[in-house]
């Protein structure tokens, strides 16, 4: 395995460090609440939690501009929150209410938002990559200096679509930032049990795409790497591949007894909790005290309480509207 890039990135200033911590805590608490609501029967279907992986979305998305695009996977609550889709509309979507960001049509796996250029929530592994290629192609053809960030898990590299898209993105020099979230397990299948070559960056570099492995538990490293990569992509150098080495603390979804990994392994990774790690570094740098943390937790708790209240108060779409949006109601823009 290639060594993880050591950026020895210094902590950003207090304000930005607090922002990163705040964003990670928003995801963590939002999802803890979601799991609770799932157990209470308020949320149904599949619910895939991102807990443990927060540093990746927070770091990578911090490097994007407002008019860049994001294509994500079915484990995308964190990306959606960080991108600026309101906790209210995400929670309402998890409830299946029509006030949800996908009008109650998508649920947890299919969060969409035109205003923030958030192109889903794709629940076919690898299925979002071709879309990202196309969004980037549209930008290139229209001479817009925009970047499309495409998130996918390491399981996607086994799909043919991954290889087709690596090739096409490199061949056409498309402005795509490939963000591979390597949490080591494709559902229950360990990377080493499914790939003959487990160095994922090699796969990208074999297509002439520059690639870095990043410590995905270190939000500062994630942001720093993403900023450098985005700069290269935006300057027209073609795609970039970042492998964020991370770990999912919770089950794959809500129905997973986790027979494929040991409790000890999970505990070891929890020692590298991205939130605790940043907290600790900030405290060491005297950038964080109990008051700061208390303030953040209070703000996050209020935001999530609001979101639950909003979702509870939301309305069910009338069944007469069941087939609305199968086809467009207006001409294309």
């Amino acid at each position: 395995m290639a060594a993880e890039m050591d950026f020895t990135t210094p902590l950003p200033d207090k304000e930005h460090s607090l922002h990163l911590l705040h964003e990670m805590l928003r995801i963590r608490r939002f999802e803890e609440k979601s799991a609770e609501l799932y157990s209470a029967g308020k949320i149904r279907g599949f619910l895939h939690l991102y807990i443990g992986e927060e540093a990746v979305a927070v770091g990578a998305i911090a490097a994007l501009e407002a008019d860049d695009a994001i294509v994500a996977t079915y484990r995308e609550h964190g990306h959606a929150l960080v991108r600026g889709i309101s906790a209210n509309s995400i929670m309402a979507e998890l409830y299946g209410k029509q006030e949800g960001c996908s009008h109650g049509r998508g649920g947890s796996m299919h969060l969409f938002d035109a205003a923030t250029r958030f192109y889903g929530g794709n629940a076919i592994v690898g299925g979002g990559l071709p879309i990202a290629i196309g969004l980037a192609l549209a930008d290139k053809l229209q001479r817009r200096p925009r970047v499309t960030a495409c998130f996918f898990g390491e399981g996607a590299v086994a799909e043919g679509e991954f290889h087709e898209c690596m090739n096409l993105a490199a061949l056409w020099k498309l402005p795509v930032l490939f963000c591979c979230e390597n949490n080591l397990y494709a559902m229950g299948t360990a990377l080493k049990r499914s790939e003959s070559e487990t160095d994922l960056c090699l796969k990208a570099t074999s297509y002439e795409i520059p690639a870095w492995p990043i410590d995905g538990m270190d939000v500062v490293a994630c942001e720093d790497a993403a900023r450098r990569a985005v700069l290269a992509v935006r300057s027209g150098e073609g795609p970039f591949f970042l492998e964020f080495r991370t770990y999912r603390f919770r089950a794959h979804s809500m129905y997973d007894p986790q027979l494929y990994r040991t409790k000890q392994e999970v505990e070891e990774w929890k020692q590298r909790d991205p939130i605790a790690t940043l907290e600790q570094r900030m405290r060491e740098n005297r950038n964080l005290d109990d008051d700061d943390l208390g303030l953040i937790e209070t703000r996050v708790a209020a935001e999530i309480a609001d979101a639950v209240e909003f979702a509870e108060a939301g309305s069910w779409e009338p069944v007469e509207a069941l087939t609305r949006f199968v086809y467009s109601e207006r001409a294309a823009r």
Binding site: H110, F112, G134, L135, L168
Partner: protein
């Protein structure tokens, strides 16, 4: 329509090429991509000469990556372009079925109407050229099963010339199936022929004794059969469905209500086919109008054979249409 003086001699292939050319000229967002559409000139020579006219950015050769370039078309459409994606043949489209079904057909709905996908996918369909079991099938009926897309089957020069622009103007994904045996079809077309509607079936030959309901590559066979039947004193009406989704039930029912008999000619396999769907709709809407059971003439339920005599035997042929019609009308088949 214009006067006889303004007719030009053309082929289906040239009409389609002219449609692409005109779309490229009218709208700078339109571009064509697919395997061998550029340098090679199109595997069926539809796009021959367009590379020289519009350049490699808009006449874009792709690698053999159906899933990636169809998905790229979806992304580019969401990114503001008007892509025409060419898939060499319908059998190859199965490699992109994930993108067509899970993304193109679903995203408008899944996103609660936020994103629409003005994408056109063209592909060759059908048999009759001894291309055997991986280049000859008629899967347009399959695609017509999918809500969220539209399925067009141009069978005439007017439709080859006119359906593309309307499809590009449509806010939703449109699949155009071009029967391979039609490309060399020659005839007169109005010099100023342009866009046509894509949601209505058309009576190509009015008749009173029975309705021959068909589309695409079998339209000509039905019209020839109707000519022979006329000589036998049977006046057959021929319906060209033109669009398989949405299916124009009203035109079918109206015809059957007048003729009281129907034969459906479909190059797809019989089981679970568009012919089965049409049969069901007639039963639902015109059961009491029928004087005889509906007949279907479909392709034999086998992978397409190579040998000419076997392929001919597998496909719907005018002789079978005539025999069924005689039996149905005169009871003396």
């Amino acid at each position: 329509m214009t006067s006889q003086a303004n007719l030009i001699r053309t082929t289906y292939r040239e009409a389609m090429r002219q449609a692409i050319r005109e779309a490229m000229q009218r709208d700078p967002r339109v571009f064509l991509m697919g395997e061998d559409v550029g340098r090679y000139g199109g595997s069926f020579a539809v796009s021959k000469g367009l590379l020289e006219e519009f350049g490699p950015e808009r006449i874009r050769d792709t690698p053999l990556s159906e899933s990636a370039f169809v998905g790229a078309g979806i992304g580019a459409a969401m990114g503001g372009m008007r892509p025409i994606v060419e898939i060499m043949t319908v059998n190859f489209s199965l490699l992109a079925l994930d993108q067509i079904m899970n993304n193109a057909a679903a995203i408008h709905y899944m996103s609660g109407g936020q994103f629409n996908i003005p994408l056109v996918i063209r592909m060759t369909t059908g048999a009759g050229r001894q291309l055997a079991a991986q280049h000859s099938h008629s899967l347009e009926g399959w695609y017509a099963h999918i809500p969220g897309i539209k399925v067009l089957t141009p069978a005439t020069l007017e439709d080859a010339r006119g359906m593309l622009w309307t499809a590009l103007e449509d806010p939703d994904p449109v699949l155009i199936f071009e029967h391979g045996s039609l490309y060399n079809m020659e005839g007169d077309l109005a010099a100023d022929a342009g866009a046509v509607d894509i949601d209505k079936a058309v009576v190509r030959r009015p008749g009173t004794d029975l309705s021959l309901i068909t589309y695409g590559g079998t339209l000509d066979k039905a019209i020839r059969a109707a000519g022979d039947l006329a000589a036998m004193g049977i006046d057959a009406e021929v319906i060209d469905l033109r669009t398989l989704r949405p299916l124009d039930t009203a035109t079918i029912v109206d015809s059957v209500t007048r003729t009281h008999r129907a034969i459906i000619i479909d190059e797809g396999w019989r089981s679970g086919s568009i012919s089965a769907e049409i049969t069901a709709r007639i039963m639902e809407h015109a059961f009491y109008e029928l004087d005889a059971p509906i007949e279907r003439i479909c392709t034999a339920e086998a992978p397409m054979p190579y040998a000419k005599h076997l392929e001919d035997a597998a496909l719907p042929q005018p002789a079978a249409i005539i025999e069924a019609a005689r039996k149905m009308v005169k009871g003396d088949g």
